[in-house]
């Protein structure tokens, strides 16, 4: 097994003199592995052509990658006259990625291969308002269960979709500390807990970002280069895929459209407050109280609770007041999204979130507003659809976030020689820091609780 690459990053200067073999091999290994992984090259000849490396170097590097279990050359391709070429395939089964989605009312967990394909998933109801420590404990329990069910495979990474923007400057290789995504999170080391429990690098992204990635790679956005995803829930956010990749902006906080001010009649407020699921539920309750909605009034009379989903179901059944509530939300969302569409010229707009996915009325009125306010050149071939992936788009997207993070050149070149991301020097450093912190915390004598 080759030794760990000693390529230094993050400001460490390179040594002078002739580089070691491991240093010169790493960049070509990265290039070749990514050509194979993305299926741009499937034979040795194609690798030589795309990488512009010599036959001997390609043979040597493929030998190393095969030895590391990251590439497989056992299959034969179709002959085109002479001997059938040996196919070079990425071994997506070499490792697994644990994925999770945390949103306001549900927790989803899953496991994916290194190509980002989801192999197993489970979703359960939860409350985000509970302490982060309880949430982390449940997450660890479910992760352990899923790993056990998969016969404890080698873990390459953990990727979590969280219900808020993850501001990290957009350039971190992986999460090296727990960001304050939500109030209370800064006081609990979620990332450090996961690293300590599973010994794998962690990625965090906002739910809108992971859903955008999921939709782009496995849903309606497949084969699209420019896509806008709009998530409608308690919060309203947007994700942008530009030129086939996720656009994260300067701070990793793209798409916070929920705070855009909108006006409806004599009322003004943020888009979230005027069109989000809390507003839909509140208007639904009013409609039940003042008798405008007989369906919702009947539900209340029987002791039922009105959430946005009940309003959506009532609208689907033809309840006039509920139809109006959802149409109004759809119109407001459509107006804001139209501005984005005029600016960004997407090929596809995907509406997701439980209300948008289960309700035709909100989608129809959003469509009407978007098409009505878009420049004819923007709306000519623009498709506006609802997501068909449900919460799976978040899990699939989280897996893609991890695979892209793992195999991004700046990350990969520092672990490829060992075949495992745990060998990355920054990850090693992070683990040492976590271990040291534990020792120090153990030494501190705390005063008794008063």
């Amino acid at each position: 097994m080759p030794t760990t690459a000693s390529v230094q990053t993050d400001g460490h200067p390179r040594r002078k003199g002739r580089p070691r073999v491991s240093e010169t091999a790493a960049p070509s290994l990265v290039d070749i592995l990514n050509l194979v992984r993305t299926e741009q090259a499937t034979t040795r000849q194609e690798i030589e052509r795309y990488s512009e490396l010599g036959r001997a170097v390609v043979a040597d590097r493929l030998g190393t990658l095969c030895e590391l279990g990251l590439v497989d050359e056992s299959e034969l391709g179709t002959a085109t006259g002479g001997r059938a070429p040996r196919l070079v395939r990425f071994s997506a089964d070499r490792g697994r990625i644990l994925v999770a989605t945390l949103d306001q009312t549900a927790l989803g967990v899953g496991i994916a291969d290194l190509a980002g394909s989801l192999l197993m998933e489970h979703h359960e109801a939860t409350e985000l308002t509970q302490p982060v420590s309880a949430l982390a404990e449940r997450l660890v329990t479910l992760f352990r269960w899923i790993l056990e069910r998969q016969s404890n495979p080698q873990l390459y990474g953990i990727s979590i979709s969280v219900p808020g923007a993850v501001s990290d400057g957009g350039e971190a290789l992986f999460q090296r500390a727990t960001p304050g995504v939500l109030p209370g999170w800064e006081s609990f080391p979620l990332v450090e807990t996961l690293v300590a429990a599973f010994n794998a690098p962690v990625w965090l992204r906002s739910s809108v970002e992971t859903m955008t990635m999921g939709e782009l790679h496995a849903g309606a956005g497949r084969n699209q280069r420019t896509m806008l995803l709009v998530k409608v829930g308690k919060r309203i956010g947007a994700g942008l895929a530009s030129d086939g990749t996720l656009f994260r902006g300067a701070q990793g906080t793209v798409g916070l459209i929920g705070s855009v001010p909108v006006t409806m009649g004599d009322r003004t407020g943020t888009l979230e407050a005027m069109a989000g699921s809390d507003h839909i539920a509140q208007d639904g309750r009013h409609a039940a109280e003042n008798g405008a909605s007989p369906v919702l009034a009947e539900l209340v009379r029987r002791g039922g609770d009105i959430t946005a989903l009940e309003v959506a179901q009532a609208a689907q059944m033809g309840d006039a007041a509920s139809i109006e509530i959802l149409s109004q939300s759809g119109r407001l969302i459509g107006q804001v999204v139209a501005t984005l569409a005029n600016m960004l010229n997407p090929a596809l707009i995907v509406l997701c979130g439980s209300i948008a996915q289960t309700n035709d009325i909100l989608l129809a009125s959003a469509r009407e507003a978007i098409y009505g306010a878009c420049h004819p050149l923007v709306s000519r071939d623009l498709q506006i659809i609802r997501s068909q992936m449900g919460s799976s788009s978040g899990l699939v997207g989280a897996a893609i976030v991890a695979t892209e993070g793992l195999f991004a050149a700046p990350m990969l070149r520092d672990w490829v020689m060992s075949g495992q991301p745990q060998a990355h020097p920054l990850f090693q450093q992070m683990k040492n820091e976590i271990a040291q912190r534990k020792v120090i915390e153990g030494d501190i004598v705390r005063p008794p609780d008063m």
Partner: protein, 343 residues
Amino acid sequence: MAITGLGPHGERASAPERVLLLPEDMERARASGFRVAIVLHTLESDWAKQQLSGIVGTLGNCGVAVIDVVDCAFNPELQIEALERLTLEAPDAIISLPVANSKVAAPHTRVSAAGIKLVLLDNVPTGLLPGKDYISLVSADNFGLGKIAAEGLSPHLREGAEVGVLGYDADFFATNEREIAFVKWMQVNRPDVSLRVQRFPALSAVAATTRTLAEAHPELAGLFVVWDTPAMTAARVLETMGRKIPMTTVDLGQEAAIGLAANEPLMAIAAQQPFRQGETAASITVTALLGRLAPAWVALPGLAVTARNVVECFQTVWRMPAPHEVLRKLSLVGLKRSDRHLP
């Protein structure tokens, strides 16, 4: 009872009433002359027979012809073959219970790609999406079933007891949910209890897995098995080992009902309602065939059954009288009028 679980992709459950068929729907369906095929995991079990009877009866009420009913005998190869053959016959819809996960995913995807409406029962192969690859999934609230089983076992467990969980070692939505829910309920409500999980890969391995579990944990004081057929096998194995352990399981099979009536070894059962699930699957199929929006996941609540309500629950679930043995164990037959104590 409220639905406590989430669907295979995190969907919120829709109630069966969402797809209630009105007389005008039935009239329209009758005028359309639809053809539907059914592919089940087995036709041998009572559960499958009841579900089939719910499906066929409801489709009959709507004038929909059932052109084939396939028994896959739990065999993925047979299911793949059946789906490929049926896709060529081009029925308007296929109702299928996927017997495996990734193995049968592609043939199910090909069904919907061929323009045939696909309604799934109990399980969704990973990667298949509602609205795109299938219309709807109909299942029991399996998460709720696991909770009912845990709640039913808890009063029979002393403080600090060791409890076995016999799970199914296959990636199957229904059994996964039951196992997770049982374990979660115990961890939250009975943190004093230690859980020992073992999984059997096939029904033929249940006896050996039970023996391994019981031998490894001689102090085992409770057992949950993810459905009734393996539960009864486990009960027999434990009996031969001279172990009396209170048990709970899912599904009110005939043998399980007898065990429950005797309060030995079964203390509680979380029962599915296969007939209603069948009716619902048929209603969804007709809803989709009429071009109306169908919910991604329709779930039916489970019934909490103990010796006290086993007779009426058996009638509700199976639409037939409880077995004579059950009635006898509960002293509802074989007694003189004067011996009966009315409440």
